[in-house]
Assembly symmetry: C2
DNA sequence: CTGAAAGCGCTTACAG
DNA sequence: CTGAAAGCGCTTACAG
């Protein structure tokens, strides 16, 4: 028995439309018609083609077809995220995937770990692979490098943080308003000495949340003791340490606002070590698993990563469908979830 | 000024190698040589080509090139997971991504939600997109559908659960041994009435963990009270309910072994509601965030999802590099992490 | 209803 | 060192 593959390549190659055509004794175009369900093929030929497909276990090469097909969509989109392993990124991917699936679109995803160079490299790789669109959590402070690509028709939607030096759609959480609501909650429970624990101010969301903290304090005319404002705190361990330092001040805070979930965890652990968990209020920004199982359970200003991802994907597909209205920034509201830690009154 | 694109398509299309060649007044092949750094191009022409590339912001279409290139690799692999949003899946993707990145390979990922039909559909989609290889957490009980694809040269590595009706590489956790170690830990702390809380026995890992539970009990000659063996428990809420039922038995267990992290969370919450957290031992299988912040902190048999993902990716790439040794199943060891809940002695 | 030719963006195999 | 032709797997535009 001879090799079915016409070009005489080794036998273990995937069958092509040419092999099917040869076996069914029809033209390439007829196979193409059957595969794409174009109709207008006689039952006789349709049958022969289908049997050949079955027999060879032929699967059309979608990538090859998109090369010539009008529009030339590859039915893939690229996701540039902070870290696929963190719950926020993971929830975004999942939500995007669900929207994409309905359209038969696959998702390529990659982590950037806050490295601007890696952001650009990943975008370049996705573009080289001809993705139809991009969803990006920007790490760098300049997205102007995307301008040429966008001109050539690849839409981009930013998530979590707005782009800089580029006019593009974005979907962000209500960082400033949400933080203000969380802090206001503490003030209404009687606190006036409220500490702020935040990440690098260079990260836009961290800066916005600090602004929200200041908004709330100003609106209620509560003085901010700058000694209680701690920025540049990274990771659980640093948050634990910072919390312990804060609580050991001569005039310590009665409440903590931790502007990120990991920092809230650190604050919780720090309070616990000092035995101050039960008498110090704590509100965190961004929910985390098991927050409700801690004691006291942790009150948070919850983001909606699933909602953010869904909206980002919908925005991207709207652009792919031809929408060329002005770029918009969607702000997804946060939700204050009261669980106990945020409702502790100040010590007498 | 005329359109640079020779074919007269609308101007906002991405420039091609042809546009570059025209602008640099060289042949296609010369552009190709420069782009691929083949050398053997005069400085004169190299310069002209590079300037044209710069000027047009040309980015080679990798997908098109792989169509003709020998080997025809697309430098993409497909990941079929349970749910991208769950920590186990997320950790696996991240680990795979890191290995793939070193080779300039991108990862396509999708969730299957324990739906066998979705597993097959996703695999078919990945294959249609010509991925170079697949990493799969199987949902269905039959992977024979992959045999034809594998014959045509796409390697597949299974993760978390071995494939059925298909001879392929796999990377799994030491479910049976790990569970036995966790249960043995409870026995050594004096427990004899130990409850087992597990997921659907149809899921291989759940079944294996129950076997491990039975192994440990048999080895120490502890009788199993079948009334304390609860299978088919799904999700936190069911685990909470099951735990409450168990603790309300006339002769309740003194220790619980929860064979999955979500079930451990439910067991913890269930004990807490009954005020039995501090006097009932609990060991969970598979670690979870914040397990160390609960009180008591939860003792677990930790899997190593990162290690599993890394090993799976390495195995896949080894196959892509031509390794055709016999298929192997790698068993990644678990680690018992003692945190408090597993070291509680039985009530007197 | 059916097919032969040309082409998608790029590389291979060959010739100079 | 350089290029013209053929081809990767498929679709388009045209002809019958």
């Amino acid at each position: 028995m001879t090799t079915l593959s016409g070009s005489g390549r080794p036998g273990n190659t995937r069958p092509t439309i040419r092999d099917v055509a040869a076996l069914a004794r029809v033209s390439l175009k007829t196979v193409s018609r059957v595969v794409n369900g174009e109709g207008s093929v006689s039952d006789e030929l349709t049958g022969r083609v289908q049997r050949a497909i079955e027999q060879l276990d032929f699967r059309p090469n979608f990538t090859a077809s998109s090369l010539r097909r009008t529009g030339g969509r590859t039915k893939t989109i690229g996701l540039v995220l902070e870290d696929l392993a963190n719950p926020f990124s993971a929830a975004v991917v999942r939500a995007v995937e669900d929207v994409a699936r309905q359209r038969g679109v696959m998702v390529l995803a990659g982590s950037v770990d806050e490295d601007p160079a890696r952001e650009r490299a990943l975008v370049a790789d996705f573009l080289a692979h001809s993705v139809d669109g991009l969803i990006i959590v920007p790490a760098g402070a300049d997205q102007s490098y995307l301008a040429p690509g966008r001109r050539s028709g690849t839409p981009v939607v930013f998530v979590d943080r707005p782009p800089q030096n580029l006019n593009a759609d974005a979907v962000v959480a209500a960082n400033r308003d949400g933080a203000a609501i969380g802090v206001d909650h503490l003030i209404r429970h009687g606190h006036r000495r409220i500490a702020f624990i935040g990440d690098l101010p260079a990260i836009r969301t961290a800066a916005d949340r600090e602004l929200g903290f200041r908004d709330a304090m100003a609106r209620r005319e509560v003085d901010i003791d700058e000694a209680l404002v701690r920025r540049n705190v990274r990771g659980v361990d640093e948050a634990i340490e910072v919390t312990q330092r804060l609580m050991e001040l001569p005039d310590p805070p009665t409440a903590l606002f931790a502007a990120q979930n990991v920092l809230a965890l650190g604050a919780y652990a720090g309070l616990r070590r000092l035995g101050r968990r039960a008498d110090t209020a704590l509100v965190g920004f961004d929910d985390f698993p098991v927050a409700d199982l801690l004691e006291p359970a942790v009150t948070v200003v919850a983001q909606n990563p699933g909602g953010i991802g869904t909206l980002a994907a919908e925005t991207l597909f709207r652009r792919l469908d031809g929408d060329d209205d002005a770029m918009v920034t969607h702000v997804v509201p946060t939700e204050l979830i009261q669980r106990g830690s945020g409702e502790i009154a100040p010590r007498a």
